[in-house]
Symmetry: C2
Subunit: 154 residues, 2 copies
Amino acid sequence: MPIGVIHSPFKEPSGVPIQAAVAEETKGTVEVFPEFADGLKDVEGFSHIILLYHFHLAGKALQVRPYMDDQLRGVFATRAPSRPNPIGMSVVRLVRVEGERLHIQDVDVVDGTPLLDIKPYVPEFDVREATSIGWLKKRVDRLRKTRDDGRFSE
Amino acid sequence: MPIGVIHSPFKEPSGVPIQAAVAEETKGTVEVFPEFADGLKDVEGFSHIILLYHFHLAGKALQVRPYMDDQLRGVFATRAPSRPNPIGMSVVRLVRVEGERLHIQDVDVVDGTPLLDIKPYVPEFDVREATSIGWLKKRVDRLRKTRDDGRFSE
């Protein structure tokens, strides 16, 4: 059950940055439905928030060819949207809270994406020193120049 | 729809570490249901994975008294389990993959928690330099000594 909607400049999946980390400050807004507005108290103090949302345009698959690779990978080893439970996750910058509207930066989702949850991003909770990133090790240098090409949309 | 179950030494919410980051290497396993096993290809290469799961024992609230505070906070400014969409998120260490069973460390969930998704943890995607963490700034030093006291369970 959506608690709101994410608005972005991207009207379709093609061309969307594949991660918020490389969304180059793209601006967007999060519109929280009025019945959930009380939950926004104290959100303003955080510089970054985690958005959980519904990959509402994606199909479902157990193996996928991810954006930065040409081999079939298990979907749980990728961040591809075509997942058994199509839940997306983005860490975005929180610029300003205006009532039930959050102004954000670093948006990497399609306009109209249904919002499921907002969590504060807290480095003490969320940062790990990863010692290996699997198949991505040889591919992650493609991150900045790769964009969604529509391959996961139905 | 769960894709598996998380097993941990914690038989009830009381006493569970409140974040995976301070779960002190507590061991657990993730059991992925056989019909989703094909999605686990290539997961083994990652040192850390993100688990999304159902806070199946929590109530729902828009404002909560979080573990590390005594004031009412908007739930979206907290990581409390009592959320409109009760989706939990933990970054855990992946120790070993044994068929459909993932051996993990740093578990901060109750035994039997329904698993919704597994994503690889990738610092290039997931790490941000947060410049403010709101109300948590004065509270986060309590993190390591705070445990779940059952306040969010029904």
